[in-house]
């Protein structure tokens, strides 16, 4: 609240932060809400605005934070996430790199060893595979190998998972890959509030964070409470959010699939099934407590993810529930994931390769009625 009061004074000043400009737009957008914001006041924010303002504020607060990646500067960001930052912070802190992921990821990690706080952008996480040795061997393991001498306060961020029609080499979800590795933190924001709070937390975190965004969510607008606009707003790492409370079945999801799970929950509610939707927010550390508490309440679980099924996030969640809440399960755990094939280009095949709302509804119903599934041979 105080933060907002301070900023209202600052709105007359020439160099307004990008957030202040966004807030100004929100204020003048004809809101019927009283000027003195309560925490229930709802403004809209896109994920893009959330990420942009988070980057801006963290760079403003800490001169050690800098941004590096392809087209992040003069081009304003391949997806316009870093719009305005070069102009504001200059080329020493917003660096356009050549198309050389192994090189610039390594350079970023080296800078982090020295004490700077780099934010390294991958245009998509598919390209992070060119640099994965540095993420795992140079970043994730260093604090351990050096017995705490060399910490790596770096954030690797960028779009992850499928977009629309971008084919096999541009559509993979890397959540399971990176979450497999001790020493990395892996975050998967869904809403604008998630994006803002988790990116701020990631940048402030002393450990390497893999921050998996989603291209199709960038333009989506979400209602946010007033506190989200505050520059000190932060979300805890390792804590999931119950997006929708329910009684009959737990649905876990992350990133774009949270939206699908919420749609599925809506459909299920019309059929008398009350689904609890958990937005994981953090894949590593995974909020096992929240997941297990929910399953102990509902006794049924459907895990949803976009990535390939084998050795995926859902597999780990299922195992956690079996280990800690086996007696509470009234049905086998259901798993919805991307199809076990490289992403096809044709629209009809792509639709079959990515989870749909129908799939989640179907699996939830199975979990609730314990009906014998019809396995269709292709």
């Amino acid at each position: 609240m105080l933060g907002i009061a301070r900023r209202k004074v600052g709105l007359g000043v020439f160099s307004a932060t990008i957030l202040e400009q966004a807030l100004q737009r929100a204020l003048t957008a004809g809101s019927v809400l009283p000027k003195k914001y309560s925490t229930t006041a709802k403004e809209q924010m896109t994920v893009r605005e959330a990420l942009n303002t988070a980057l801006d504020e963290e760079m403003s607060a800490d001169p050690k934070v800098f941004l590096m990646g392809e087209e992040v500067g003069e081009y304003q960001g391949a997806y316009k996430i870093s719009k305005g930052l070069l102009e504001k912070y200059g080329p020493d802190r917003v660096l356009d790199t050549p198309i050389t992921e192994a090189g610039f990821a390594g350079i970023g990690v080296g800078a982090a060893y020295y004490g700077l706080r780099p934010v390294v952008e991958f245009m998509t996480f598919n390209f992070s595979m060119q640099a994965i040795d540095h993420l795992i061997n140079s970043a994730a393991k260093s604090n351990y190998m050096s017995a705490g001498q060399i910490s790596v306060p770096i954030v690797f961020r960028g779009p992850n998972g499928a977009a629309a029609g971008v084919g096999a080499q541009h559509s993979q979800c890397f959540a399971a890959w990176y979450a497999h590795v001790p020493g990395l933190k892996v975050l998967t924001p869904y809403s604008a509030e998630d994006a803002r709070g988790l990116l701020k937390a990631a940048i402030r975190d002393p450990d390497p964070v893999v921050f998996l965004e989603n291209e199709l969510l960038y333009g989506e607008s979400f209602p946010v409470s007033a506190e989200v606009f505050d520059s000190s707003f932060c979300l805890p790492i390792g804590k999931a959010k119950i997006e929708r409370e329910g009684k009959h079945v737990t649905i876990t999801a992350y990133s774009k699939m949270v939206g699908y799970a919420l749609q599925a929950a809506e459909i299920l509610s019309k059929e008398g099934i009350s689904a609890e939707v958990i937005n994981l927010r953090s894949i590593r550390p995974l909020d096992r407590d929240a997941i297990n508490a929910s399953v102990r309440k509902t006794n049924r679980l459907v895990t949803v993810e976009e990535g390939f099924p084998q050795h995926g996030v859902g597999a780990e969640i299922c195992m956690s529930v079996i280990e800690e809440s086996f007696e509470y399960l009234d049905a086998p755990v259901e798993r919805i994931a991307g199809a076990d094939v490289p992403m096809p280009y044709a629209a009809n095949l792509e639709r079959m390769a990515v989870p749909q709302v129908d799939d989640i509804v179907r699996a939830a119903k199975r979990a609730c009625y314990r009906s014998v599934p019809m396995a269709a041979a292709a």
């Binding site: 390209f127 029609g165 076990d340 094939v341 269709a376």
Partner: protein, 393 residues
Amino acid sequence: MAAAAAVVARSSSLSKLRPILRSFASSAASDDNRILTIETFVPFTGHLIDPPSRAVDTTPAEILSFFRDMARMRRMEIAADSLYKSKLIRGFCHLYDGQEAVAVGMEAAITKRDAIITSYRDHCTFLSRGGTLLEAFAELMGRRDGCSRGKGGSMHFYKKDASFYGGHGIVGAQVPLGCGLAFAQKYSKDASVTFALYGDGAANQGQLFEALNMSALLDLPVILVCENNHYGMGTAEWRAAKSPSYYKRGDFVPGLKVDGMDALAVKQACKFVKEYALANGPIILEMDTYRYHGHSMSDPGSTYRTRDEISGIRQERDSIERIRRVILSHELASISELKDIEKEVRKEVEEAVSQAKKCSMPDQSVLFKDVFVKGYGAETFGSDRKALSAALP
């Protein structure tokens, strides 16, 4: 021999004086195989090698085929632009218009046993290797008659029977792959070479230098071809490369800088390097070229370069216009005959587009096809594993 930078005025006044001779000459020109020697627009520049002569041996038939093939490629890319805007093409679409001379000139110098591998900007290379317009448009629209059966998309065209190995989405990856093709060619004693194409953006990738070093150690018959269109997505070459002399970046590997907007120069260079590579090992070609479109259809291409620059290149260096001037100055065809060729090519493209639009989507059963060559009956799954599963054949 008359310089290639011919005077159009001269030819058109002559054509008024000698109409009978002209029509006789041009109707036979596409079958005419007498040797013509034409100079390239600019000389070659060599790094650690003496460049080939500027005088290129060609024939009227070849020159006319250059014109037709480049016009067809140009039309195809422009049609793809419209299809993308009408949302019939989805995802990424990287267009090659402006760079046609590289594809066409290279093809003229090599055989179908020589291999080509390139990046995602692959539509025209596919065509030059013998792919059809229908296969290209059907693939772009994700139909079952596409060259990759609708499963690859714009970035993943292939034609193995013509030694075209794709079509690669990850910047730079195709270069070590190309060196691998050359390794196999040498290993199999095939007396053929591989051309591995990449852009100025990819030229800074470390994997190129790793693969080049190994290729030099092993004397592999590989030619690294940098299609320098001066922009890696939105970043100009001087902002990405400390040394944008890409033909010199091989250091101990020789290189040649070529005017990539001159199909005859491209042909001469490719002929020269093929001979070199077979005898000596790797060599680098830098093609000085230009793309009229932005990096992809999501990039307007005008935020990082001026419209004057783009139209300037179109006026002064366009590859199709140059060949047109060569044809006219050597009286190989008339202005109206060339326009007829352009009309024919336009019609070809329109027909292919309309045919491709009628093609059906791939059958659902192909979702699980070609994951493996040999699947041992392993189970595979759709997004709801209990609703859809299959055994991999």
